[in-house]
């Protein structure tokens, strides 16, 4: 993504006060990113965990919601964020591997509470309309970096496994496991 060009275009749309166009442009940037990485993807939906540091949370413009409203806590230097990504193909009958993207949706969700979710594109759109144009583009850059990092290094899995290894040392795990095996 060309940051300078993206900021310029988004700022122009914000100045036109066109909500629909601002949302459309943000979505378009996401679609472009997904197209570039189509080898990672197939059409359909994904539940994606991303390990996000406090600094990245700020960059994603999610600190206020995730920490202050949802009460999630940093552990081992990261918050594990649950994302829901749905990719709609242009032709529903096309192969799940070779397809053209018609639309995408992306939500941030509270763990196991599917009614508490945040439409991320809508969230960025509102931020842009409040004048945070550069911040919105940086948020998208951060999201793309985190997705690539997750796919290539499985970072969130490593952090969750760290927690799980600690869980294994508790009485709850040992007794619970024995009871499950009975």
């Amino acid at each position: 993504m060309d940051k300078v060009k993206a900021v310029k275009t988004l700022r122009k749309l914000v100045n036109e006060r066109s909500l629909e166009k601002v949302g459309g442009y943000i979505k378009n940037l996401l679609v472009e990113f997904l197209k570039e990485h189509q080898n990672y993807l197939s059409s359909g939906f994904y539940h994606l965990w991303l390990a996000v540091s406090a600094k990245d949370l700020e960059k994603l413009l999610l600190s206020n919601i995730v920490v202050k409203q949802w009460g999630m806590k940093e552990k081992d230097g990261v918050v594990i964020l649950s994302w829901y990504l749905e990719i709609y193909p242009k032709n529903p009958l096309s192969s799940t591997k070779t397809f053209e993207i018609r639309d995408v949706e992306i939500f941030v969700r509270r763990h196991l509470i599917y009614t508490s979710s945040l439409d991320y594109i809508e969230h960025l759109k509102r931020a842009a309309m409040r004048g945070k144009v550069v911040e919105v583009i940086e948020a998208l850059e951060t999201l793309f970096r985190l997705i690539v990092d997750e796919v290539e290094s499985r970072t969130s899995e490593k952090f969750v496994m760290l927690r799980f290894d600690r869980f294994k040392k508790t009485k709850i795990y040992t007794d619970g496991m024995v009871y499950l095996k009975l």
Binding site: N39, Y40, L41, S42, G44, Y46, H47, L48, W49, K68, Q69, W70, G71, M72, K73, E74, K75, V79, I80, S82, R110, H111, L112, I113, I147, E150, V151, E152, V160, M161, R163, F164, R166, F167, T170, K171, I172, Y173, D175, G176, M177, V178, Y179, L180
Partner: protein
């Protein structure tokens, strides 16, 4: 390499099943009377799965609902008594209900604790599970038993027994 397509994470399912199995292995169903001080030890975060829609007029955020309930409970005082019931309606699922506050709180215990575990509250989750188990083991149930004995002397109970004969 590609994004792994999963319907749910294997880890959260496993954590959920182990917590439920542990509680099921330690406690059977029951009803107990506790004071709100103990309630706050078992549920340090009260509202995660509380139906927020009933708290109309209060901001829908986790923190404000949580502090609202805490404030309410604090006003009742640490010695205020509530009734909690524990049941296993489906398999290992553990459902805890709390009666005696403004509204009945209903928690799917394992689900509630697993979500908190994923939210980064590991130690708090382990501690509160142990609190529930320890409390249920040591509870004397005196008030519940007394109330039940009183209930057995009522006409309602007598008629019910007769209807069964």
């Amino acid at each position: 390499m590609e994004i792994r397509k999963i319907s749910e994470s294997e880890i959260d399912n496993l954590v959920l099943r182990i917590i439920e199995a542990y509680v099921s292995s330690q406690i059977k169903t029951g009803v107990w009377e506790i004071n709100t001080g103990v309630l706050l030890e078992i549920f340090p975060f009260l509202v995660e799965y509380f139906n927020g829609a009933r708290l109309m007029g209060i901001s829908n955020s986790f923190k404000s609902q949580n502090s609202f309930l805490r404030e309410y409970i604090n006003e009742l005082g640490a010695e205020h008594k509530v009734i909690i019931s524990l049941e296993h309606p489906y398999g290992h699922d553990v459902v805890v209900r709390v009666y005696g506050l403004a509204d009945t709180l209903i928690y799917s215990f394992g689900y509630h604790k697993t979500a908190l575990w994923l939210d980064g509250y590991e130690e708090e989750v382990y501690k509160s599970i142990e609190q529930l188990v320890e409390f249920a083991r040591n509870a004397t149930d005196k008030t519940i038993v007394d109330s039940y004995e009183k209930f057995k002397k009522t006409k309602i109970y007598e008629l019910w027994i007769k209807s069964k004969q």
